[in-house]
């Protein structure tokens, strides 16, 4: 029963990821795409942890940890870039 629920959750998370990707392709502004990327990262993190629970291997949780730390670095860089651009546009 619990394996069945984990399997259902796997496909559910994949559907969430596809919806996020649609927003990433269509999103009119850069902020939309950035939020979509952020949510995609969270969904992937949930997927990795789920997979680690199913396979019962601790190494898989390390992947999720490293992944989310370095992903956050990337979002921070893009968000800082957007902030600087907004400040420049206000100054002009």
């Amino acid at each position: 029963m619990s394996l069945f629920i984990l399997e259902v959750m796997k496909w559910f998370l994949l559907a969430c990821a596809i919806v996020c990707l649609v927003r990433m392709f269509l999103g009119p502004t850069t902020a939309d795409r950035l939020v979509a990327l952020n949510i995609l990262s969270s969904v992937t993190l949930a997927f990795l942890v789920l997979r680690g629970v199913v396979q019962q291997r601790v190494l898989y949780l390390d992947v999720a940890l490293v992944y989310v730390i370095f992903g956050f670095l990337g979002f921070l860089a893009i968000a800082r870039f957007l902030k600087d651009r907004l400040n420049d546009e206000e100054a002009e």
Binding site: T30, L37, D62, V63, V66, G74
Partner: protein, 78 residues
């Protein structure tokens, strides 16, 4: 599952190549490396997935955004 992920990775790569706004391309590239890390993980290579997540999703995004900050954001080539 693997085939679905490969199709998504292909679409993201094409979007990265074809987008005129380079920042959107960088965002798509970050998602690309994210999904390829997931693919390595599903193919039971967690150490490769760790490296891909660290280098692809983190460091290369920072470097690309850093480069765009000092150059042009829009792709002006026709």
């Amino acid at each position: 599952m693997t085939i679905l992920l490969l199709v998504l990775i292909l679409i993201l790569g094409m979007f990265t190549l074809l987008s005129k706004d380079l920042l959107h391309g960088v965002i798509a590239l970050s998602a690309f490396s994210m999904l390829s890390a997931l693919l390595f993980y599903l193919l039971q290579a967690p150490d490769v997935a760790i490296t891909e997540a660290a280098v692809g999703a983190g460091v290369s995004t920072v470097i690309y955004v850093w480069a765009i900050r000092y150059t042009e954001r829009k792709d002006s080539s026709e």
